[in-house]
C-alpha cells in the first residue's frame, strides 16, 4: 500500500531498546491520533499517570503525511494529558515539516515509552536511531536545543524539542518544531521521560499508488476547492472580482494595495481571485487580520506555513523595537501563540504598535521556554486572580476567612514574600517597558516552577499546603488550581458580571469555539463536552465561517448529508430573550457527528483541521459547492485502498469510538453521559454574545448525537453492536469485562 512506510518506530527510554514494528495493526486507525489511541488502549493500563514511565507519548503521522497532499504537514502528539486532573488521553497538534521528515526517514509514527536515567535526545537519520546524551542542552531553551542538534545533524534536520517548561514539569508546556509549530500540553510528558528533543533527517521516498499525472490532477483539483485559512471561501472585504459580491467574516484578507510591508521589497497581496491558484498563499494575510491595519501589514515579512500547505497561516514579523527588549526582532507564530506571553499584561491597546511588540516579545520568551497558553485559560485566570477583589460573601462561599474580603486571590493566597517578588506596579502601571518586565518575571517563574523554598514544585506539596511561587500555581493548571483555590470557580463558573468572559468548561480545560458561535450552539457544546482537553475542533467553524450566506451554507450541507426534515443544521437566529437556538434536530446531530468524524480523520490521515473540510469552495462555477470526497479521494489515491467518503467517515467513527471507550475505561465510569459529558452551568444562562443551552434540549442533543454514533443513550457508551460494526469487538470484550458495556 502507498502512503504508509510499513514501520512504526518505538523507543524505550528505560531499557534503551529501539525497535521497529509493522504498521499493519494500526492501519484500521489510519495513523496520527487513531494510531495513538490504539497504542494507549493496548499498552497503557488504566490508572497510569501522565508522568509515569509506563505512559506513552506518540508522535503520530498518517498515510497522507509527507505525500504533498495539500495541508498534510501535521503531527498529532498524543499521550495521557498532564493538565487533566485524572490524566485522561488527549492530543496536541503541530504542523511544520517534522512529521513529513519522520515519514521520509521511514516511519509511520514514533512511540516513546519509559524514562531515561538522565537527559537524552533521540537521533533519527533513516534507519539509524540512537538515544544520545542531552546533558548540555538540559536547562536551556528550545532555540538552543535546535541549534545544538542542527549543529550535529546538519541544517536540513527537523527538531522537535521541549524548553525549560517541559523539563520542569510545567503542565502547560509544549513540544515545538520548526521554530513556530507547537503541540500544546504534552511538553512535560517528554520532560518526565528526561527526553529533551527528537532530531530527524529522512532521505527516503514515499509511495503514491496513483500515477504521477493522476496524483498531480488530484492535487490540482484540491487546490481549486481550497479557499483560505479557517475555511473562508470568499474575501473578507468587498472585492470587485467576487462574482456574487460575497464578502466578510473570513481570513481571506488579501487585497489590492495591501502589502507584506516588512518584506524587502514589500510584497503586494493584491487581487487573489478564486481561480488564481498561484496566489493561494497570499490570500490569508493573517498579519494584517490579527494585528490590524497600519500595524500588521507594516510588520509582516511573510506568511509561513507547513509542508505541503498552499494556505499559509504563520505570521513572520519584523518588529525592530524588540531589540530594545533584548530579543530578536524577527519572530513567527500565529493565533493564540501570539498572545501566550502578552496575555499576562493589561492596558495595552489592541491593534497598536505596543500590542504587536508585546505579542512578539511574549513569543520570543514562550517559544524558547516551551510554554503553552492553554488557549488563553492561564492568562484569563491570572488576570482574575490578580485583579478580582473578593467580597465577604465570596470568601464565605469559598471557605476563606471573610477577613480577607477586599483582597485579590493572589494577595490572599500567596505568601507576602512571594507576592512581593513580582513587580506589580509595573503590571498596573502605564510604562510599556515596565509591562514587559512584568511579563518576563511571570514567565521566568512559570518555567522555573518552584515552591517558595526553591525546591521543584509538585502537586503533592501544594496539596499539603506548602507555599509556592505564583508561577508554579499557574504551571499546575486550571483544573488542579480550582481544587486548591475554590474561589477560582467564581471565574470558571459564576462570573455573572461578564459571563461572555468565562472560558472554562470542565476537568481543567477551556472552551474552544463554544456556544459563542451562535449558529451552531448545540454542535459546539457537544464538541466541547467530548474531549479531555479543549476540543481543538475547527470543522464546524471552518464551515460556518466560510463567508457564504447562511442560507447557502445550509443548502450545501443538506445536499451533502441530507435531506433533513425538522430544521436546518445551522441557525439563522436565536430566540429572544434568552438566545435559545432552534431546538435540536436531525440535521444538527448529523452536523455535529460529521464535525467530530472529520476532525478525527484530519488528525489521523494527517490533514489540517484549521482549514478543512472542503465542503464549500470559492468557485462560482461550482455554485460554491466543495467536495465531500476530498479526504477519501486523497486517501484512495495515495494508498490504493479505494474508499468512499462514507467508508472513511466510518473509520473516523471507529477512531472516535475507541477514544470514547478508552476514556470511559480510565475513568472506570459507566455513566459517561452524566459524569463525563458535563456542561458548565453558565452555558445555560442567557447573556448576549452567545447562544444559550436549554436543559431539556441539551438532553435531547446528547440523545440524538449518541444515537447518530451508535452509542447508548442512557450511558453515552458505545454499544456492542456498534463495536462489532466498526471492527472493535475486542474493545467491546474488554469493556464488558470491566462492566462498561451498556
Amino acid at each position: 500500500m502507498g502512503g504508509w512506510t510499513g514501520k512504526v518506530l518505538r523507543v524505550d527510554l528505560t531499557t534503551g531498546v529501539i525497535s521497529k514494528e509493522s504498521t499493519d495493526k494500526y492501519k484500521p486507525y489510519l495513523g496520527g491520533t487513531g494510531l495513538a489511541y490504539k497504542v494507549l488502549w493496548d499498552e497503557v493500563p488504566p490508572g497510569t499517570d501522565a508522568w509515569d514511565p509506563a505512559n506513552r507519548i506518540i508522535f503520530g503521522v498518517g498515510p497522507l503525511t509527507g505525500t504533498g497532499a495539500p495541508l498534510s504537514g501535521r503531527v498529532s502528539v498524543t499521550s495521557l494529558w498532564p493538565m487533566h486532573p485524572e490524566s485522561l488521553p488527549a492530543t496536541g497538534h503541530m504542523g511544520g515539516h517534522w512529521g513529513p521528515e519522520l515519514k521520509y526517514a521511514g516511519y509511520d509514527s514514533l512511540i516513546i515509552q519509559g524514562k531515561a536515567a538522565s537527559p537524552v535526545w533521540i537521533y533519527i537519520k533513516d534507519d539509524v536511531v540512537e538515544i544520545r546524551d542531552a546533558g548540555k542542552m538540559w536547562g536551556n531553551g528550545i532555540y538552543r536545543a535546535n541549534a545544538e542538534i542542527m549543529n550535529i545533524m546538519g541544517p536540513e534536520a527537523h527538531v522537535a524539542a521541549i524548553g525549560q517548561c517541559g523539563e520542569n514539569l510545567v503542565r502547560g508546556s509544549n513540544v515545538m518544531c520548526d521554530r513556530s509549530h507547537s503541540a500544546g500540553g504534552v511538553g512535560s510528558v517528554m520532560g518526565s521521560k528526561n527526553l529533551k528533543a527528537i532530531g530527524i533527517i529522512g532521505t527516503g521516498a514515499l509511495k503514491v499508488e496513483a500515477s504521477k499525472s493522476a496524483w498531480k490532477d488530484l492535487v490540482h483539483y484540491q487546490h481549486t476547492i481550497l479557499g483560505a485559512n479557517s475555511g473562508g471561501v470568499v474575501p473578507n472585504t468587498l472585492q470587485s472580482w467576487q462574482p456574487d459580491g460575497y464578502y466578510g467574516g473570513t481570513r481571506w484578507t488579501a487585497a489590492k494595495g495591501l502589502f507584506w510591508g516588512a518584506a524587502s521589497p514589500p510584497v503586494e497581496t493584491g487581487d487573489c481571485t478564486a481561480d488564481d491558484l498561484n496566489s493561494i498563499g497570499l490570500r490569508t494575510f493573517k498579519g494584517y487580520a490579527d494585528f490590524g491595519p497600519g500595524v500588521g501589514d507594516k510588520h509582516t515579512v511573510k506568511i509561513q506555513g507547513c509542508h505541503g500547505c498552499p494556505i499559509r497561516c504563520h505570521i513572520a514579523t519584523d518588529v525592530p523595537a524588540l531589540e530594545q527588549l533584548g530579543v530578536s526582532r524577527y519572530q513567527v507564530n500565529t493565533c493564540n501563540g501570539n498572545s501566550s506571553g502578552s496575555g499576562f499584561t493589561i492596558g495595552i491597546t489592541s491593534r497598536s504598535e505596543n500590542n504587536i511588540t508585546a505579542s512578539q516579545y511574549g513569543v520570543a520568551l514562550c517559544d524558547d521556554f516551551g510554554w503553552w497558553s492553554d488557549y488563553g485559560l492561564a492568562q484569563a485566570d491570572f488576570k482574575w486572580l490578580a485583579q478580582h477583589v473578593l467580597t465577604a460573601e465570596e470568601c464565605t462561599a469559598a471557605g476563606i476567612d471573610p477577613v480577607n474580603a477586599g483582597k485579590t486571590p493572589y494577595q490572599y493566597r500567596l505568601t507576602a514574600a512571594e507576592y512581593a517578588k513580582l513587580p506589580w506596579a509595573k503590571f498596573t502601571g502605564s510604562d510599556f517597558v515596565g509591562k514587559m518586565d512584568f511579563v518576563k518575571a511571570v514567565m521566568i517563574q512559570i518555567k522555573d516552577n518552584r515552591m517558595a523554598d526553591g525546591t521543584p514544585a509538585t502537586w503533592e506539596k501544594m496539596q499539603a499546603g506548602q507555599p509556592a511561587t505564583l508561577g508554579a500555581y499557574i504551571a499546575v493548571g486550571a483544573g488542579r488550581l480550582e481544587k486548591l483555590w475554590p474561589e477560582l470557580a467564581i471565574q470558571h463558573q459564576e462570573n455573572k458580571a461578564t459571563p461572555s468572559a468565562i472560558n472554562y468548561v470542565k476537568m481543567g480545560h477551556i472552551k474552544h469555539h463554544f456556544t459563542e458561535s451562535s449558529d451552531t450552539v448545540q454542535a459546539a457544546a457537544l464538541l466541547n463536552m467530548m474531549y479531555n482537553r479543549d476540543p481543538m475542533c475547527h470543522t464546524h467553524t471552518n464551515y460556518t465561517g466560510n463567508g457564504l450566506p447562511l442560507a447557502l451554507q445550509n443548502e450545501i450541507f443538506n445536499e451533502l448529508f441530507g435531506p433533513f426534515e425538522g430544521g436546518n443544521a445551522i441557525d439563522a437566529e436565536l430566540a429572544a430573550p434568552d438566545f435559545l437556538p432552534t431546538p435540536m434536530n436531525k440535521a444538527k446531530a448529523v452536523f455535529a457527528k460529521m464535525c467530530f468524524l472529520y476532525m478525527e480523520l484530519h488528525n489521523s490521515l494527517t490533514l489540517c483541521n484549521y482549514t478543512l473540510p472542503g465542503w464549500a469552495s470559492p468557485l462560482k462555477s461550482r455554485n460554491y459547492r466543495g467536495e465531500r470526497n476530498l479526504e477519501a479521494m486523497m486517501y484512495s489515491a495515495v494508498t490504493g485502498d479505494a474508499k468512499t467518503a462514507q467508508q472513511l467517515e466510518d473509520t473516523g467513527l471507529r477512531i472516535l469510538t475507541l477514544f470514547r471507550a478508552d476514556t470511559a475505561r480510565r475513568m472506570n465510569e459507566k455513566d459517561m453521559r452524566n459524569k463525563h459529558d458535563l456542561m458548565p452551568e453558565y452555558a445555560f444562562h442567557a447573556h448576549s454574545g452567545a447562544g444559550t443551552l436549554d436543559h431539556a434540549d441539551w438532553e435531547v442533543a446528547k440523545d440524538m448525537f449518541y444515537e447518530e454514533c451508535g452509542w447508548d443513550k442512557t450511558t453515552g457508551l458505545p454499544t456492542q453492536a456498534t463495536y462489532d460494526r466498526l471492527g472493535l469487538s475486542d474493545v467491546a470484550a474488554v469493556m464488558a469485562g470491566a462492566g462498561l458495556l451498556p
Binding site: G68, Q242, G245, H513, L574
Partner: protein, 297 residues
C-alpha cells in the same frame, strides 16, 4: 559534540514514487494548423452569419494556441490562398484595427460600414474593460460618447444592444443609478453587485448608500455592519464626516429600519436593518464580530 559529515542535498531528494496506471484525466492534444484554420473560419462565419458581425483580430488570435502565436501571419496567409477559406477576408480601419468577415454573409462595401461600427464596439469594450479591471471604476455613458464622437447617441445605444447579443462582448453590462445616470462595466472583471455598489456611490447620497449596504448585509448573510466598513475608499466618505453622515441616516424617516448598536466593551459601532435582523440577533452577531471571533482564533 562531534560534527557529522553531512552531504545530503535536500534539493536532490526524491520524496515520492508513483504508481504506473495512467491518469484518469485525458490530456487534450494541441490542435493542428489545419484545425486552427478551420476554427477561425467557423468563428468568423458564425459571427457574420448569425450576428451579421465583423470579428475583431483579437478574437481570431485568441483561437491560436500560445505555442503557435508566432506563426499567425503565415497561418492567415495560408488561409488567404486556400480555396476553402476564399470567403474569409480581412479589413483594416483608418485607425489600424483589423477585422475579419465572411463574404458569404457580408459584402465588401457593407463591411466597410460595419467595420466602423465594429471599431466602435472594440473601443467601447476596451475602455469599459480597462476601467473595470485596472481602475475598478464604472464607465459613465458620457465617456463612451467622447470615445466615439462621430457616432450619434442613438447609434451608441444600438451598438451596445448588439454588443449584449454577441457572446464576445456580452460581458459589457449596464447599471443605472437611482438618479437615472447610466454606467457600464465588464462582468469579466467586476461583479454585478460591486457595480451596483459603485453606482450607489455615484449618486453622492452617502446616507442612501449606507442604508442600502446595511440592508444588504442584514438580509443576505445576515449580520450587522460595522461603520468602519464605510471608511473603505470605494464609498468616498471622508472619515471625518462619517459620524455625521451616520447620524443623519439614522434620523431620516425613509431609513427608519436602520438601527445603531454600540458594543458595550469595545465601543464598536454597528448598523443593522430591523427589517431583516432582529434586535437581539444584531447584538449577538455584533459581539461575535467585535470580540468573539478574535477571542476564538
Amino acid at each position: 559534540m562531534e560534527k557529522e559529515d553531512q552531504k545530503t542535498d535536500a534539493a536532490e531528494k526524491v520524496r515520492l514514487e508513483y504508481g504506473n496506471e495512467p491518469s484518469t484525466v485525458e490530456k487534450t492534444a494541441e490542435p493542428t494548423i489545419e484545425e486552427i484554420q478551420a476554427k477561425i473560419a467557423e468563428t468568423v462565419r458564425t459571427a457574420a452569419g448569425e450576428h451579421s458581425a465583423m470579428t475583431p483580430a483579437a478574437s481570431v488570435f485568441a483561437l491560436v494556441p500560445k505555442s503557435r502565436q508566432e506563426t499567425i501571419t503565415a497561418l492567415l496567409d495560408e488561409m488567404a490562398a486556400d480555396e476553402r477559406y476564399a470567403d474569409i477576408k480581412a479589413l483594416t480601419t483608418d485607425s489600424g484595427k483589423v477585422f475579419f468577415f465572411s463574404t458569404t454573409y457580408i459584402q465588401a462595401d457593407e463591411a466597410v460600414a460595419k467595420s466602423r461600427i465594429e471599431e466602435a464596439k472594440v473601443k467601447i469594450a476596451e475602455k469599459v474593460r480597462a476601467d473595470s479591471q485596472d481602475r475598478v471604476k464604472l464607465t459613465p455613458a458620457g465617456d463612451l460618447q467622447e470615445l466615439i464622437p462621430e457616432t450619434e447617441r442613438y447609434r451608441i445605444a444600438a451598438i451596445l444592444k448588439e454588443m449584449q447579443e454577441n457572446p464576445a462582448t456580452a460581458d459589457i453590462k449596464m447599471v443605472t443609478a437611482s438618479n437615472g445616470h447610466v454606467f457600464f462595466y465588464s462582468d469579466w472583471h467586476m461583479s454585478n453587485y460591486y457595480a451596483l455598489v459603485l453606482s450607489r456611490v455615484t449618486v453622492k447620497d452617502p446616507c442612501a448608500t449606507i442604508a442600502a449596504m446595511v440592508r444588504d448585509e442584514s438580509r443576505v448573510y445576515p449580520r450587522p455592519t460595522c461603520v468602519q466598513f464605510f471608511m473603505e475608499d470605494l464609498f468616498e466618505i471622508p472619515p471625518c464626516d462619517l459620524k455625521a453622515i451616520v447620524d443623519e441616516t439614522l434620523k431620516k424617516p425613509e431609513y427608519g429600519d436602520i438601527k445603531m448598536l454600540v458594543h458595550p466593551t469595545t465601543g464598536g459601532v454597528y448598523l443593522y436593518s430591523n427589517r431583516y435582523l432582529k434586535d437581539h440577533m444584531a447584538a449577538v452577531l455584533m459581539d461575535w464580530q467585535e470580540v468573539g471571533r478574535e477571542a476564538n482564533p
